[in-house]
Symmetry: C2
Subunit: 511 residues, 2 copies
């Protein structure tokens, strides 16, 4: 059962390992979640809910089994591949890469290799699109290669992780083909809507990041998305199958066929954008990793610009949040920074890099609009409740101890304040922040709320079914699952809610 | 007395108005602070501490009075001036500025003014140094002018605030000259070390941001820095004199002469940087507001690069933190983003825009090194304890209520849990986060700590006299008072401590 809970609470997680384990104890899903934590039974119940016909459409069988005939495997881009691309654009050879990325332990900048140093300048242009646009883009900043050595991830290290990943991807593909399943292997860039339409099921071969990517393009609630962790020694993969199936994928397939699993329907958040000057065009932040094609970017911007001008009523955005939506001022451009400073000068000079304050108005569950100022907003799903949202909301043992001591004094209690009680209270409080991925509700949190005469911060967090936010920001963005960003500046209004149609169909498999 | 406490706790504050007032109650300075909260007496005691000779040197008199003969007035750049500069660089006339900034209430992007639209493109190049480098630098993002209207800060509004500020600055200058004091009026850009050396005292005419700027160049603990809030209706000015002196500055001067004030010695944090590839060259974030000269930037970078190569043992950085030092991954460049993504792919794909996780090791008060992962680190002074640090550490009434309810259940207490108790506990806890600007200690806080197998988060915050941080970041920066930034990437080690020599000498004046 525990593994089910663990799974149910899986998320692209910033609370991993021991901690996470602790959080997966009874009740971690929250009382409301329990009725749906029924293991296989739950799954069958789901399948029994008058969906067989639909399900058949995507390879499901009446007995709850599942046999896809066309599968797309989305493989992550390994760090090694990323390095390779960078150096290729810097017109460096594989040899240079070896030299630059390692195995030496001293950073290049302290070695006598000025030649290569300047050779990397063009890289600066390719990647950032400008020549030394600022202090952190000077050759030595641009040039992280040498630092890899310090991190102990030398060239051979990168290559090793890359081979492990590749081997595991091949194992998945072979297993599928051996079952006569048609397979398409794609990388981030080739993964598009057409490929999704073609497939009966999507397999994310990587970690949680790859799972988020794979899910981002699947809007059909009946198309299963299955995550396989291709580097189990190094990553958690909370959204992936139990690690043992990484090496024995055929066994997983057999269980799919026999229905020895349950469907886990992860709720997702949908977003509507309306107001003045909105820009419904998503920006794939990952695509900007190498920012290779200035032209495409320019075109994209033109498009964005055109659509912006046509923008009218509420527009449903083309993404669904599996983990969360983050809204806040952005530091992603010097431009934004300069503006922030200008605004700050006007507004009590809150230094931008002190966690640029975001201004907006919020309405929860169609309630009254409330002015807010904070370091941002986080709206998460049950899946995301264990991710960033958890770190925003959880209390430290230290704080709980202090609070209880104060209460003890203030209320003259004869409260026996021992370590054990403090731990128990801390854990229960923090576990109350987690809930089942299947629960159709949003956990809305205000990050570092700033209270003053103008801005209230009545509720720092609450569960809700709908949240509307009116931007008063200058260079803010609305980021979905850390991968897709939308401009969200003054005049824009976002409405976020959970809709059953947006469920992501994933698989829950026993350890 | 209250006003004194209010002052003692003054800071470039994100906790303003009513809230702040509430925080200024008895004990707000923390028990340890009380001995030094003695009002004038305290000031005299300070002056009596064998310093009269030194003090005479900067216009202080044995009776505790203070009469400077040369004063530099640092005036803030108003939003209006900022707009003017931008539009001048966009080759737009004052008329265009009027048209663009307002008074219209609809954003230009929805008006038919394409001509001007494209006219602004060159601005895009000037400001960001590249043509459409990304979604948020497309013409419509670049172009904030129209949005001012939505904020109700039309051209006339900006002009009005500008005139109010200017009038108040003139009043200060006239008051000083009437007393035969030699005055130099400077803007941010003209404010340099030479000017500071020339003056007996520095007056910051603006808000808290201007006070932070003025203080940033004063390393001489005997040179007084006095803040005057030049827009009291719109800003708090926690680091400034009580607002009434804005309009009656001569009265303030008389009190200085007669010693009817006390010196407030605000402690500051000094920073040492050592390790591989460090760059001791500060980057003035405000200077980058308009980023006008690519060449200067390039030169600056060369310089930075050279010094980087020479960097060896611990180097004392040329700034002191009055409010705080923030350390964390930066989102200030696409480059950093791309790298962060690469690193994240390797490290459990924590999406960058989910509050990029920072990796580092910490040693508090020369204790053992501890690996940490979080959304950043904040090290504040007593002055800054009411600023960002407060928002990072304070607990919400809601959380306290939940914690007490859990404790009540867990410990089967007959605790009468009423609103009043919860409020009292919440306030006492939050007030315990504040301490006197004169206390020589650092409040060290971890922002959204991430706990897992590798990373502990034993202490989320603590008071300390020295904190060392070893960076494991990829594109991090160390930001002092939100105004000065230093690269802080893998290989760099920062040591931060409080040293009496770094005190900032400010004035505490009765309401």
């Amino acid at each position: 059962m525990t593994c089910y809970r663990g799974f149910l609470l899986g998320s692209c997680c910033r609370v991993a390992g021991g901690r996470a384990a602790a959080l997966r104890g009874p009740g971690a899903g929250g009382p409301a979640a329990r009725p749906r934590l029924g293991g296989d039974g739950g799954g069958r119940r789901h399948l029994g809910q008058g969906q067989p016909r639909e399900l058949a459409g995507c390879g499901s069988r009446p007995d709850g089994g599942f046999r896809p005939s066309r599968v797309v495997v989305v493989a992550k881009t390994t760090r090694y591949e990323f390095e390779q691309q960078r150096y290729r654009y810097a017109e460096l050879s594989e040899e240079d890469l070896k030299q630059l990325v390692g195995p030496g332990s001293a950073p290049l900048r302290s070695r006598a290799r000025p030649g290569l140093w300047w050779l990397l300048r063009p890289l600066g242009r390719d990647l950032s699109g400008q020549l030394f646009p600022g202090h952190r883009r000077c050759p030595s900043c641009l040039f992280r290669g040498p630092q890899l050595a310090l991190k102990g991830s030398s060239y051979s290290g990168l290559l090793e992780r890359h081979h492990i990943h590749t081997k595991n991807v091949e194992h998945i593909i072979d297993s599928l083909r051996n079952e006569g399943i048609e397979v398409r292997l794609v990388k981030r860039r080739e993964y598009d809507e057409e490929t999704v339409r073609w497939a009966d099921a999507v397999i994310a071969a990587g970690g949680d990041g790859t799972m988020l990517l794979a899910a981002s393009k699947v809007l059909d609630r009946l198309k299963p998305v299955i995550g396989v962790n291709t580097d189990p020694e190094r990553s958690e993969g909370h959204l992936c199958l139990p690690v043992r199936y990484t090496h024995s994928f055929p066994e997983a397939l057999q269980k799919f066929y026999r229905g020895e699993f349950r469907w886990l329907w992860r709720q997702r958040i949908r977003l509507y954008l309306e107001g003045t000057g909105i820009n419904p065009v998503p920006v794939d932040l990952h695509e900007q990793q190498l920012s290779l094609n200035q032209h495409n970017r320019a075109l994209n911007i033109e498009r964005a610009h055109d659509e912006r001008c046509e923008a009218s009523g509420p527009q449903l955005l083309p993404v669904r949040a599996l983990n969360e939506v983050f809204i806040g001022e952005s530091l992603s451009s010097r431009m934004s920074y300069s503006w922030a400073v200008a605004v700050d000068n006007l507004r009590r000079s809150i230094p931008t890099l002190k966690g640029l304050a975001s201004y907006y108005e919020i309405s929860v569950d169609d309630g009254p609009w409330e002015k807010q100022k904070s370091s941002g907003l986080n709206l998460c799903t049950g899946t995301g409740s264990k991710a960033w949202s958890f770190n925003i909301n959880r209390v430290a043992t230290q704080a709980v101890e202090d609070v209880l001591n104060i209460a003890k004094r203030q209320g003259n209690l004869s409260l026996p304040l021992n370590r054990e009680l403090v731990e128990k209270v801390t854990n229960e409080y923090n576990e109350s922040l987690l809930y089942s991925p299947e629960e159709p509700k949003i956990l809305f949190s205000i990050r570092e709320p700033i209270a003053n005469r103008v801005f209230s911060s009545s509720r720092q967090r609450c569960f809700s079914s709908k949240v509307c936010v009116r931007s008063r920001c200058w260079d803010a963005c609305m980021v979905v699952d850390g991968g897709t960003s939308f401009e969200f500046n003054d005049g824009a209004i976002a409405s976020m809610m959970i809709n059953k149609e947006d469920e992501l169909r994933t698989v829950l498999l026993e350890q």
